[in-house]
Structure formats: C-alpha cells, structure tokens
Symmetry: none
Subunit: 221 residues, 2 copies
Amino acid sequence: MRLLIVEDEKRLALSLARGLTAEGFAVDVVHDGLEGLHRAAEGAYDLVVLDIMLPGMNGYRVCAALRAAGHDVPILMLTAKDGEYDEAEGLDTGADDYLTKPFSYVVLVARVKALLRRRGTGVGSSVRTLGPLRVDTGARRVLHGETEVPLTTKEFAVLEQLVVRAGEVVSKAEILEHVWDFAYEGDPNIVEVYVSTLRKKLGAELIRTVRGAGYRLEAPR
Amino acid sequence: MRLLIVEDEKRLALSLARGLTAEGFAVDVVHDGLEGLHRAAEGAYDLVVLDIMLPGMNGYRVCAALRAAGHDVPILMLTAKDGEYDEAEGLDTGADDYLTKPFSYVVLVARVKALLRRRGTGVGSSVRTLGPLRVDTGARRVLHGETEVPLTTKEFAVLEQLVVRAGEVVSKAEILEHVWDFAYEGDPNIVEVYVSTLRKKLGAELIRTVRGAGYRLEAPR
DNA sequence: CTTCCACGATGAGCAGGCGCATGGGGGCCA
DNA sequence: TGGCCCCCATGCGCCTGCTCATCGTGGAAG
C-alpha cells in the first residue's frame, strides 16, 4: 500500500512518514506542490496526503489538476486552522477528506485507513499469490506454502515493490526510491543486502538478478 | 521505446543517454537545436528530452515548431534555474513537462516513464514478436520459441536496436551511437562481436549482414 | 575464371565492475 | 540495558565488456 505525502514542513512530514511506515505503508515524501503533482500523476500511489500551504503550487491546485487529469487516487487534505483557506474549498476541488491542523497522529492513521477501505482497495484485502508465495499487503504477512515467514518492515517493503511489479525488472534505484526516501543518498548496496536476506527466507529462485538492470520477481505463468 | 535527447552540454547528454539506455530505452543524442528539430520531426521517437539553451535554435522554438507541424510527441523540457527562462513559457509552447536543473537522475527517469505511461504507450509491456523471437523490454527478457535466452545488458541493447528497426538496414555507426555513447571512440569491431554472440544465441539466420551498409533483422512476412 | 584485398566473423584472454556474503556498529524500543 | 533491526564497509568471486589476433568470405578487377 503506497502513500505519497506532500508537505513542506519537514519535521511534520518526517514524523508522518515514520509513523505511517511503521504502520506498514510504503511512504514517499515530497516537499513541493508541483513535485507532488508529478509524483501523484504517475499513478503509483494508493493515497495522497496533501498539505494546502505549499511552495511551488498550492494544494488546491494540485488536487484540481490531478482530478482534471482523470486521476481518482484518494486525497486526504491537511488544512491549517487559521481560516485563510477554507475546508469546503478543499472538498470542492476533489479531495476525499480533510484534517485540520493540529491533528493527532492516531486520527490521521484512522482516516487514511478509512479512505483506503472506502475505496475498496481494502487495507487488509490485497493478497497476491505468486507461485508458492502469498503476500498479504494489508496484514503485512507472507506465507511460503503453509508456513508464515516473519519479515522485518524493510524486508517487507522491498518485497512489496517487487510483488507490485512482478515479472518486470525493477532497478535498484527504483527500489531505493520507493522503499527508502526518494531523496535517499546512500549505498545501493543496501538493496542487495535486503534481497539477500529475502532470498534466504523465501528461497533463492524467487528473485532473479538481472545484471546491470535490477531484480525481477518471477511471476508464475 | 525510442528517446531523443537534445542537449548541448556534452557531459550531461552523455550521462543521461547512459542512464536511460540502461533503463532499456533506445536513446539518440543531438547537440544542436535545429538538428534536434529535424530528427524529432521524422517522427521516429516516443519522447523528446529538450534543453532550452541550445545552439542553432532554442528549445522553445524547437518545441513550438514541432507542435505547429502537428507532431504530438511528448516533450520533457530541461530548464536552467537562473530565471532567464520561465517554466510557464515552456509549458505554453507545448511541452508536456519540464525539469529544473540541476535534477537528480532518478527524477528524470521517473518523469520520462510517467510521460510515456500517460501517453498510453505502456513502458513495461512493450513486447515485440518477430518470427520465433519475442522481445520483452519491460522484463528484459528474450524468448526464442519457448525457451528463454539469457542476454547481457549490451547484447540486449544491440538486439533492441535491431528489433526497433526490424526489416531496415541499421549501420554499425548507428548501433554504436545508440547502444554505446554518441562520442564513443573505440573499435567499431565491438558491434561485430556482439552481433556474433547474438547469432550464436539466437540463430545465425536472424541477423543478416549487408556488406558495407550494416545489419538487418529479418522481419517475418 | 582466377586472384587479391578489404571487410567481416570469431575465439581467446584480460581487466574492471557488479553483485553477494558477512561482520560490526549504532540506534530505537521494550 | 539488552536485543533486534537497520545500515555500512570490506573482501571476494564471477561475469561482462572490450581488445586483439587470426581466419573466413564476398566482390571487383584483370
């Protein structure tokens, strides 16, 4: 389950991302409205958390532009209380829900889950079966045959990326971008490390290395 | 999936071409605006990456000219940050998206893919069938009949060039430019070497030599 | 028809890089 | 404070990419 957070207050963005990641979501963060629009328009997210006051392009316009372009991704708007912006306006532009700052963290999580549930992309209901593997994205559980395989958060996130694009080659850069922060400037070796542990836990033949290109999760034919 | 990069900074152009090639795109590079216009007008590209500051003819005019001539190829503009040129102007002339220098490489790739996806020319699902051969760009996979043929990155890139222009004669110089770098200064014999290994893996009759001109991938009739 | 030459094909070999495994340190949570 | 997870560093092995040398072959000229 992939979330995009568009929020320029770095501290807030960071804590939201942390919390939601801990909840088992794959979270990307951008700090600029226009950038947010572009990322969301790629269509790879299940939900967008969108602040209104943003540099580059404000949240209303981002939201309106997304809807105009035909994207129906659920949008949860974050509005400041100071009255300059109006909640109704947010809903008019096509947001699905809004939250007034300051809000409690549990409320946010609840709203996010509620929106996802409302969409039928049920939080607990996306189960993919790939050969001997069953991946339950909502419950963050993985079954290999009959036995459950315990995975850490990061391990699961990496696996989720591969599962979502099963059969395609996913580059290490893309995995880094999705699982870690897209602005992550670390050693791509991390990805190799996690792939390694995944193979150890799930069997070596599931994840194929495509040298010079990335990894590919074998889809059963 | 064929891209044209119009960018006069040779170093930047080179690194972009490298990366995008590694992503599985067939990339051409030109360093001059007018030249870029001509190539793009030929209509053989799926997307154009267009710098604004260019010798010969600036990016706005190239873009405008293309649109005026009725071409709707997606255009991704590269703008310098110095403020002399305006982002809005770029979008006004008919560009589909823009990116402000300096940009990270992953962002560029994401935008390129997003644009292509938006156009419906699915990035991950371009499968071409040529007689007994099936080439899947997204999965970086080649099937010869029922069996999968493992190819290295370079082998795949050379094959892709030939596949994209199946039935046509492709010169060695062109293959060099596409698969290697524009300014590659090595032994042209490399191409022969790779054609040789491809023949070994895929069967000798698939790639015909046209003496003095290049190679031609036999298209099924 | 023969001969010669230039272009192309192919195999061997080398160097560098990519991917993998492993161990250790640091931080967060119980 | 202890344990687990995450990240980083290092070393190693194999594969890939490329060069070079040799052999094959097509085509034109005599």
